[in-house]
């Protein structure tokens, strides 16, 4: 079974190979030439299949010196009815120069293609002496010695390429369907770098619409071979051409001028080569009702987010169209009527290069109208697939989302959902501007902060003292007593230094207030009674006696005439300091015990 299949395939292969028709011709540019002219001998191979052939060896002819060889290829595709016909050809051009006058023969050449050998005819070439006064071609004045590898092209000859600088238009496809975009690239071919190239005009023809697909900002050269010759090639422009009529249409032509260096810069006008596209009609039958005119190679996907939400929240439904074709015909359809959803107008976002290839995203925002399991509306998009030649449709897969009952935030979503601004707001009518004043760098701000912090500190201190009364009453009393003593002692010292008799009043009051605070003596007691009470505490009798003496001295100074002697004030102040020191040390000692 396998063997029979292999035989069948081999047979089909042989048929296909043998079906290709080959033609081999040979020609010369002239049968008679002078000693100063060149001879071109051309072997042309043509076929309806692509030609893969090694270069034939140059013919050897007596009296002719082989100089150089060139190749040239061309191809063309035509459509007749529904049948596609291709034509390929390749030329091998051999350049000779005569070495002497006479009649010479270029012999028959054999060109083997596949298993067949094709023969070319022989040519008799007559070489005559050059008329007097003529010179050899080329810039080199002395004709000899001849370099066989140096080829000087003759501008009058037919074999010469289109030129050293030329502009070619190259459509990326030769046959398209109606409405399908074609990218036409315009290349500048040159044998040397150009000073500049200036586009001047675009010549338009009927049967298409066009837009710029790509416009390079500078000439970016690369090496390319055209008709067997190496060139520097730079892309000038790319146009997106959308045919709007069936048949053969001519692509737009470009004209421009190039600055070529040829012993100094010269401007040279160029016009792009003529190129044609065969435009096929869309099939009449089989067009779906949802077909809107989109033609190309597309893929459509959908995205739904989120699939679980609360009532009041929105669902984002995206249709993503990717590929190549006339995207502008891929219009956004209205959301099908559905009781469960309220739909926004579709928003189209394009990331499409030249309107031809990329991604178009169509976004619908859906607001569920009830809670539960809801099925999304189903879309249907159709387009004509140019790669397969049939209409295709996208049907959104059945998608169900879960809508929970509304939460609190959902009620506010409408209130705070902001749409994109639609316009620019106007100028503010101000004539004079002042520096923006920041409170942070103002004095009053930091003063207020300091004040509040100081108030907090003071409040905390009061609170601490208040808590001390309950936690450690002894310490609290001591602190209070010291505070009282310090206050009176300070005033008394000032009075003594000023030699004022008020010293004794302040000293007595301060000492008794100190004793009352420290030993919790009642203020209703008289001074002698307080001194008697002190005896109940662990205070040395000597200290009590000294205190009693000082109090008596204070009384004398206050009430006896001449008791307040200014000269004794300093001594009394010293006594007061000793008493206070003694009671302080006593307190510390008592505390230790």
């Amino acid at each position: 079974m396998k063997r029979s299949f292999l035989c069948m395939f081999f047979g089909l292969f042989l048929i296909s190979v043998s079906a290709a028709s080959w033609k081999v011709n040979a020609s010369v540019n002239k049968m008679k030439l002078t000693m100063h002219e060149e001879l071109q001998y051309t072997i042309k191979v043509s076929s309806d299949a692509p030609i893969r052939l090694d270069d034939p060896d140059p013919p050897v002819a007596k009296g002719l010196i082989f100089r150089n060889m060139m190749t040239r290829s061309s191809s063309g595709v035509s459509l007749s009815g529904l049948q596609r016909t291709a034509q390929y050809s390749r030329e091998f051009i051999y350049v000779y120069i005569p070495s002497k006058p006479g009649i010479f023969t270029i012999p028959v050449q054999s060109v083997s293609i596949g298993s067949k050998i094709h023969k070319t005819p022989a040519f008799n070439i007559e070489v005559i002496d050059a008329p007097p006064g003529t010179t050899a071609p080329g810039p080199s004045a002395p004709p000899a010695p001849v370099d066989p590898l140096r080829w000087v092209p003759d501008p009058t000859e037919a074999y010469r390429p289109l030129g050293e600088v030329m502009l070619l238009s190259v459509p990326d496809r030769s046959s398209v369907y109606l409405g399908e975009p074609v990218i036409v690239s315009y290349y500048l071919y040159s044998t040397q770098s150009l000073g500049s190239f200036q586009l001047e005009d675009e010549e338009d023809f009927s049967g298409y619409g066009k837009s710029v697909y790509h416009q390079p900002s500078q000439l970016d050269y690369s090496r390319a071979t055209y008709n067997g010759r190496s060139y520097l090639r730079a892309l000038i422009k790319q146009l997106s051409v959308v045919p709007n009529s069936v048949g053969r249409i001519q692509v737009p032509g470009l004209t421009g001028s190039a600055r070529v260096y040829d012993y100094g810069y010269q401007s040279r006008s160029l016009r792009s080569s003529d190129s044609f596209i065969q435009v096929l009609a869309l099939p009449q039958s089989g067009a779906p009702p949802s077909f809107t005119g989109a033609v190309g190679r597309f893929s459509v996907t959908q995205q739904v987010s989120p699939k679980t939400l609360s009532l009041g929240d929105a669902v984002s439904y995206k249709l993503i169209v990717q590929g190549r074709g006339n995207f502008h015909q891929f219009t956004a359809l209205s959301m099908p009527e559905n009781q469960d959803f309220r739909a926004s107008k579709p928003v189209i976002t394009d990331a499409v290069n030249g309107g031809v290839d990329g991604t178009r995203t169509i976004v619908y925002t859906l607001l569920p109208q009830r809670s539960g399991e809801l099925r999304l509306p189903e879309f249907r998009f159709s387009w004509f697939d140019s790669s397969s030649g049939v209409y295709r449709s996208f049907e959104a897969p059945k998608t169900t989302i879960t809508v929970k009952p509304a939460n609190v935030l959902s009620y506010f979503s409408d209130l705070l959902s902001r749409e994109d601004p639609q316009e620019l707001r106007a100028l503010r009518p101000l004539k004079v501007y002042r520096n923006y004043h920041l409170y942070l760098f103002s004095l009053w701000f930091w003063l207020l902060i300091s004040l509040i912090l100081a108030a907090v500190g003071f409040s905390a201190f009061l609170a601490w003292e208040n808590s001390l009364r309950f936690k450690d009453p002894v310490r609290f009393s001591r602190i209070r007593a010291e505070r009282v003593l310090n206050r009176y002692f300070k005033e008394a010292r000032q009075a003594a230094e000023s030699l004022l008799p008020e010293f004794y009043v302040l000293a007595e009051q301060g000492l008794m207030a100190y004793m009352a605070e420290k030993f919790k003596l009642s203020n209703r007691l008289s001074t002698p009674e307080k001194l008697e009470q002190l005896a109940n505490f662990e205070i040395p009798a000597e200290e009590i006696g000294r205190l009693s003496e000082f109090i008596t001295r204070c009384g004398q100074a206050r009430f006896m005439p001449g008791g307040a002697d200014a000269s004794a004030l300093s001594q009394d102040l010293q006594t007061l300091q000793e008493i206070v020191r003694a009671f302080n040390s006593l307190e510390r000692g008592a505390k230790k015990s």
């Binding site: 620019l424 101000l430 942070l440 902060i449 912090l453 905390a460």
Partner: protein, 242 residues
Amino acid sequence: MKIHIIFSCILILACSLIRAEVSVTDYRKTLEDLSKQEQAGIKAPDLYYNLGVCHARLGDESKAVLYFLRALNLNSAHRDARHNLEYLISLSPDRELYPRRQFVGNLLLSVYHWFNLNRLALALLLMLLLTAVSTHWLLHYPRDRERGLPVLLTTITLILLCGVIIALGGKTYRLQYNHKAVVQASAAPLYPEPDASLNSTRILHQSLIVEIAETKGDWCRVNLPGGISGWIKSRELLRVLP
């Protein structure tokens, strides 16, 4: 009759053209006046806002975005500047790069923007005062009574005070060290490394807002709004704080 109609049409057309031209001229003149005030060292949100509007009307979107950002850097509660900035972003070819926030995010951001530096300073004073009062109440609260309420109030005011201090610190830092910049080139390539011979990872368009993370020679490493990072030539950026 026909002549009258044609004449009226021509007159209306001429008037509209003159008006458009005058409008453009007005914006140019206003821009010159405002630029002089800016060069005099005045830093006012309204000045920046009007500069942004003039640039936007004259078609320089990157500078318009830059001035709206400067206005917002001084006063984040400048509603018109934010509105116009959002409008220009919605027109940007890179608008898809900007993150889309959910409801709560938008709400919090709006609140944060409403509290500009001066409002935050007043809020700080208010919260400090409330904290002081509640602390005083707590400290001097009768010892024999339950302290739950003053403790709660003090805690709340302290938390709010900390929040205000952090926000104020953040905004003050942004005021002094704002690393935002705007792409001014119509198409600026983003490179994975500071090397122009490498292939660019993407093309940034005019008026895209980026955050400068690092500077190395003539190059800046920038973070795009979507989180993408890359290197770009410094000369293709306009900094919010020059």
